[in-house]
Symmetry: C2
Subunit: 406 residues, 2 copies
């Protein structure tokens, strides 16, 4: 129901916006018809960073990526299949993930250690590895600077639109680019809604700086979107920095700050697209908690509200039910004074201190009409602040989840 | 859709099964038509115990009950209205809760400190206190040993059936009784789904022993039922022990153990009735985790599975999706080895170690046909064990929650 990003990504270069990157997405046969294999390659060696799922059950490609990231400083490619998660597949699964790296390295003439491997799809089924290795050969032959959309499409599972964004800015007069693609639509279908993000930049950034930067930025973007709270076995965000722009970004400089801001805005767009694509979602909800004792408290409260089925169904029904929101903050476990609690929806105050209801219900409900909802919760207890994003909760979600196989 | 408990409570004495207790439920005008005021009274002074919501937002009656419990050793009555939670109502709300205790004390000729006050219903609206105090007078005139069903009905909000159970057993040849009523049906309607439990016994038990016993038993019953994870501002369980049986229960004795078991079974029934009554629920799911490192770990895992919208919708759709269950345990935060994970549904193993799927999907799905689902998750990592209860998640839940006002 949100087509905006799809249209946007048609006219942009996404993952290949950064100089020296090529990509492609093809159909190799894991899925019946749709594209299911993406390849992203840097012309020259790049540094890399990765952020991975905290689920104790980690899919084989996650393990392989972590090993490669830990043991190497130079990287060239990301290969990703959709349609099968290669998770809970034991030894065979691990071998298959290694085989994907090996095949990619072989056709590109690089080392397997320079390749990141990713999978997304059904859990517990063995990978049709021959189809994938054959596919990798074919994909490599079609790598191009205009392969951004096909790559974005090839990592989709239950996603209803491709998620692709980019940004371009000047550092001392020289153009620097960051581009990225993402996938995810709430864990709706049979464990197929892994969250993936692949990001490229033509800035030069040291491996350790890039890792800190990616981790910190993911903590405020990909880790702040909440669809249903379920965390997948395959989630990962990988970033490559190849230096092709000639600009180096070092920690503590003004350029670093600028780069950080641009990366944040880009990952935020890639993240919010995932929320928009939440199964049955009709609204994107930005929840900001201010005035908590600490930022951590603010995040805890915002997350609890974002997870509450009661709040999400009320917003779906365009019902400005402040009691549900207050009760959710109440059981989030943070310290605050309920008497001072205030709620503003899309810049209109609906609850002020001492439970003062500013508007009749029917009027307050109007604030929930738009597709984008800004929920501001003011605790008046300190300077702690945090924002997270979620979507509303519709009958569609349950319908699809209970009966996707029939 | 579950009428069984309703039929059961028609032929039992519930809250008045214990000797020396009378109760009644009437309509006093908070609700339009249905009963909305319950009174439970002991003929003689009783000891009492209470377990209260951990929500930071605590309704006025919760505050009043805690004060009375802390400052007194002798108790006689519980008064409870439904239809209005008297929560987030400021000073006026506190005065109203005190007024309910005062009026009850006045008509019964006891001290206000001997009265527990409870409310359940809409948050944020002032109590129509005159209707309630007038109602208390009328209710007191109708107290009787056969008033158990009307009391159970008068504390209902969105509940679709009254919840009332009792147990009777011999201690050294003398009959001892425990009875109780509960309410709650998942936090569905506008914060009206507070969980309440009122329990009476004719055993004599010291206040401190009773408190320990009630707390420990609630931790394994009322605190182990999960409908949607939202915790209300008004939740409470109150227990009165009046000694009318002539039997004294002291800690460390065989009688204590027996009493503890009987209380556990009773509170379990009262709790499971709440799960059964979860909005749109079609199945009760008992989730037992075994083989965790600790009991606390087992509980954490069981709760996470019980809260997963993905697991709950899959069970609703009768889809034995083991990947969703394993992934939920994976993100519960506990230590375990996924390779050793096993799942048994209604005594039929569907997943064995090393992700070995024992049955074809269509056959495994048959295990989810019954209305009562026993989900046993074996981690093979230690002796930690815990059980909790939840219900499935249907389209009805969302439909009702998003549109209850229209």
């Amino acid at each position: 129901m949100f087509q905006e990003s799809y249209i946007e990504c048609k006219v942009k270069k996404g993952i290949t916006a950064a100089k020296g990157f090529k990509s492609v997405g093809i159909h190799c046969g894991v899925k019946r018809v749709k594209k299911d294999l993406a390849l992203i390659v840097s012309d020259v060696p790049a540094t890399a960073a990765g952020v991975f799922t905290l689920n104790k059950v980690q899919a084989a490609p996650v393990l392989v990526c972590k090993e490669h990231l830990m043991n190497n400083n130079s990287f060239r490619a990301i290969v990703c299949n959709s349609g099968n998660a290669n998770a809970c597949t034991g030894e065979k699964g691990y071998k298959d993930a290694v085989a994907m790296a090996n095949e990619t390295a072989s056709v590109l003439g690089i080392s397997p250690q320079e390749v990141f491997v990713s999978s997304t799809g059904v859990i517990g089924e063995k990978l049709p590895i021959e189809k994938i290795t054959t596919g990798i050969k074919r994909a490599a032959a079609h790598l191009s600077e205009s392969g951004y959309l096909s790559a974005a499409e090839a990592i989709m599972t239950t996603d209803t639109f491709a998620k692709s964004h980019e940004t371009s800015f000047l550092v001392n007069g020289i153009e620097v680019n960051i581009g990225g693609i993402s996938k995810g639509s709430g864990m709706i279908h049979p464990n197929m809604a892994t969250m993936l993000g692949f990001v490229t930049t033509d800035a030069a950034i040291s491996k350790s700086t890039l890792q800190d930067l990616l981790k910190a930025t993911c903590d405020k973007t990909f880790n702040r979107i909440i669809v249903d709270g379920d965390t997948s076995t395959n989630d990962m965000v990988i970033m490559l920095a190849n230096g092709a722009s000639g600009v180096t970004i070092e920690e503590g400089t003004d350029e670093y700050k600028l780069f950080e801001e641009e990366l944040f805005e880009l990952l935020k767009k890639l993240s919010i697209d995932i929320v928009k694509d939440g199964e049955g979602a009709t609204k994107v909800i930005e929840i900001t908690v201010e005035g908590a004792l600490t930022d951590a408290d603010a995040e805890k409260a915002a997350r609890t509200v974002a997870l509450s089925p009661l709040v999400k169904t009320a917003i779906h029904g365009e019902d400005a039910n402040w009691g549900r929101i207050l009760a959710a903050v109440g059981y989030s476990g943070i310290e605050f004074n309920p008497d001072k609690f205030e709620i503003t929806i899309n810049e209109i105050p609906i609850l002020k201190e001492n439970y003062f209801v500013t508007l009749p219900n029917v009027v307050a409900n109007q604030t929930l009409k738009p597709e984008k909802i800004n929920l501001l919760l003011e605790l008046h207890g300190g300077n702690g602040k945090a924002t997270c994003w979620t979507c509303d909760f519709s009958e569609e979600y349950v319908k699809i989840n209970g009966s996707y196989r029939t």
